[in-house]
């Protein structure tokens, strides 16, 4: 991952964009091709909206209604789908597990990454460069390469089938990316601030906690959100490390829920209700934090 374009995650400057717009729009506005292109984009947007609308609509229809005609509107509101889905899916327990796992892992990831990222960003020695490279290697290693040894390690630590085992592995897996992301933020903090601090007699440690961390808060929140988004949906590792339904995280509960729908007589209404139970909190978080998530994920790539 090349460390290019390190710029603080600034908000787009309207003036800047205004200039940009002038340079092109005059030419593009008028062309009919442009209109077609706009139309296509809006169609795609409509498609995305329709998908989620469809799921919500069908979550209050019965199985036979959906199969008879997937396109029609509900004849009556079958809200019991939601109650049934909630009971059969065990989402309550799974959400609790997911919250525990995601929150603990994300916080631990930041706690471990921030000092490492800071020191790597501010030290310019051969060793720090080697270390940075060593950590960069981990970003490119896909899960399937390490899942088997990870399973054995976790088994030997006696942490198989426990949330703790999952947390420890999640922390290890997300460190490299997070360190890189945070290093970018720390680099954007001017050295002068810390130099001033050290003139005041504060050590690196104090400078880090009193000056750098508060300044890099937005970067760390971004890193936190990114980790949460990733951890919330993680399936592969959870599938391998968690066996008991008591300890399953949300993606596992969702997979099991699909299986239940198939064996206990298919009920697509209930399945859609279950899907919506999963979607609603994500949607709420997105509406609330949407810009932050988008910026975070984008800045992550721009580091």
């Amino acid at each position: 991952m090349s460390l290019s374009g390190v710029v603080a995650p600034e908000k787009p400057n309207p003036r800047k964009m205004g200039v940009f717009r002038h340079s092109r729009s005059a030419r593009m506005r008028t062309s009919p091709g442009r209109k077609v292109a706009n139309l296509l984009v809006w169609l795609l947007v409509a498609f995305n909206l329709a998908i989620f609308a469809w799921m919500f609509v069908n979550s209050v229809r019965t199985h036979s209604e959906i199969f008879a005609n997937p396109w029609s509107l509900p004849a009556a509101l079958h809200l019991e789908n939601y109650a049934n889905a909630w009971v059969t899916s065990g989402f309550g327990n799974a959400i609790l597990n997911s919250v525990i796992v995601c929150a603990t892992s994300a916080v631990a990831i930041i706690a471990l990454s921030a000092p490492a990222a800071y020191i790597l960003a501010k030290t310019n020695t051969r060793m720090s460069e080697t270390m940075l490279l060593y950590i960069a290697v981990g970003i490119g290693v896909p899960v399937q390469v390490i899942v088997i040894p990870l399973f054995v390690v976790v088994e030997n630590l006696n942490l198989l089938n426990s949330l703790q085992g999952l947390i420890v592995v999640y922390v290890g897996l997300n460190l490299p990316f997070t360190i890189f992301l945070l290093a970018g933020f720390f680099r954007s903090i001017p050295d002068e601030l810390e130099e001033a601090a050290s003139l005041d007699g504060a050590g690196t440690f104090a400078a880090f906690f009193r000056i750098v961390l508060p300044l890099a808060r937005s970067g760390m929140v971004t890193a936190l959100i990114l980790n949460l988004v990733w951890l919330w949906a993680e399936t592969f590792i959870a599938l391998v490390l968690i066996q008991s339904t008591d300890h399953e995280t949300l993606p596992l509960a969702l997979l099991n829920f699909m299986a239940k729908q198939q064996y206990a007589g298919a009920d697509y209404g209930q399945l859609m209700a279950g899907v919506c139970i999963i979607l609603l909190p994500v949607l709420a978080a997105y509406i609330w934090l949407g810009r932050r998530i988008i910026e975070g994920m984008t800045v992550g790539a721009n580091k």
Binding site: T88, A108, A111, F151, E155, L157, N158, L159, L160, N161, S162, L163, Q164, G165, V168, G203, T204, F205, A206, V240, Q243, S244, T245, D246, N256, A259, K260, Q262, Y263, A264, G265, A266
Partner: protein
């Protein structure tokens, strides 16, 4: 400063490891057995078991903690075998228990259960159950490795109300069968045979039955035992595969059979959109909600071949991992499950064929019971899936699917099987 930092660090580590060491929980006390079930919580089998657990606990004071894991239960138990942190009781089909627990030497010898008395009855468990000999025993163990509770058998299901003619004269030979399909297809105007083509096993049992019909019991299994794979090149195999190849050639599949997700096609069959379904005896339980009008579940046997007429059958039931913490209590519970009232509930509420000989089959699968008496009963896949873990999913089912959709000819299938099987054996390598 450094020291303060280090203390924080050590604190964090302690927090992590402290949390870790308190990890294991929920195993309960001495009088709680943990049971991981192959059923889903809202299946009728689960309801029957919950009632049985309630009466068992009332009688003995032993609690049973259930996790409704679903059919993938052994996939979840398998990784725990080495650490020994396993449930006290699991249930699955005999071939799955054989492939996972028995093959890893992790199944307890259940002789004691068979010798125990059925609670409240004057007979031992072994006496009230039928004889399932080779289905539940293995060379590596002296006694049975599982307690079978439900018998499964594959046969052709149809609606007796709309096809009384099939009840009167079911097809006896393969040509009869194909002629019958042709008739049904003409009458309906579309494919009469329902199959959820995304489930490899529902396709595999067709070919497997045809092969056993030509090769006899153990013949299919012998093909797999050949590490070169060359055993597939035989005239009997060719004859069996030719039969199967006629199915796509005559275009007998119901619309959507290979383009939908399970259980759509079997539900549409139950709703009257196709005529016959080769399925295990659990079909009525799974499809009952989709039937309309006076649907009447009837079955006929897979037609005979040159080696005889065979019906593929398996049992499902309970096994105790060797590392179980409460094996005696689990055995007590197993004896409880063989009581007449529990088994009757499995028959009547869950519509299953049970392993107790003194109980009637539920009317919906009475035909299956008769078929099992009239034809030779063999293990599903001739036991291949239990004896050769991974073979059917890695080698047989993917290639077989291509035959059944008409993508490849029997000759190509044999060529592919020979080389895939040789590689399968190389992978098992010593």
């Amino acid at each position: 400063m450094t020291r303060k930092y280090l203390t924080t660090l050590v604190g964090v580590c302690l927090l992590l490891t402290g949390a870790c060491s308190s990890a294991e929980g929920g195993d309960g006390g001495d009088d709680t057995i943990t049971y991981w079930s192959q059923w889903e919580k809202d299946e009728p089998q689960a309801a029957v078991l919950e009632d049985a657990i309630e009466s068992f606990t009332a009688e003995t004071g032993i609690e049973v903690e259930v996790e409704w894991q679903g059919r993938q239960v052994l996939q979840k138990v398998r990784p725990l075998l080495r650490s020994g942190d396993v449930p006290d009781l699991v249930d699955s089909s005999s071939s799955a228990i054989r492939a996972t627990l028995v093959s890893a030497d992790a199944a307890r010898d259940l002789s004691a259960v068979f010798e125990a008395e059925v609670p409240g009855e004057n007979a031992t468990v072994g006496e009230v159950l039928g004889d399932y000999g080779s289905l539940i025993t293995a060379d590596s163990l002296d006694g049975p490795f599982m307690l079978p509770t439900i018998t499964l058998a594959y046969s052709f299901f149809y609606d007796g109300a709309s096809h009384p003619e099939l009840a009167e004269s079911p097809p006896q030979t393969w040509p009869d069968f194909m002629a019958m399909l042709q008739g049904l297809k003409v009458a309906r105007g579309s494919g009469p045979v329902a199959v959820d083509g995304d489930i490899g096993a529902y396709l595999g049992v067709w070919t497997s039955n045809a092969l056993i019909n030509e090769l006899g019991e153990g013949g299919f299994s012998e093909l797999i035992a050949d590490e070169t794979g060359e055993a597939w090149r035989s005239p009997q195999v060719a004859a069996a595969l030719e039969q199967i190849a006629q199915l796509p050639a005559d275009d007998v599949w119901a619309e959507g059979s290979f383009g939908s997700k399970f259980p759509q096609i079997q539900e549409r069959w139950a709703a009257g959109e196709s005529d016959i379904l080769l399925m295990g005896s659990w079909a009525p339980q799974e499809t009952k909600n989709s039937t309309t009008g006076n649907f009447e579940y009837r079955q006929f046997a897979f037609p005979e071949g040159s080696a005889g007429q065979f019906t593929q059958s398996d049992v499902t039931g309970f096994a105790i991992p060797t590392d179980a913490e409460h094996p005696e209590q689990a055995e007590q519970f197993l004896a409880w499950l063989t009581r007449k009232d529990v088994m009757t509930a499995l028959t009547q509420d869950a519509l299953q064929l049970v392993t107790r000989m003194d109980l009637e089959a539920p009317p919906d699968i009475a035909d299956t019971k008769r078929i099992m008496e009239e034809t030779s009963v063999v293990r599903v896949y001739d036991g291949v899936d239990g004896d050769y873990p991974g073979y059917v999913t890695e080698v047989f089912e993917p290639i077989n699917k291509q035959l059944m959709t008409g993508e490849i000819t029997p000759e190509t299938m044999v060529d592919q099987l020979v080389s895939a099987q040789a590689d399968y054996w190389a992978r098992q390598g010593q």
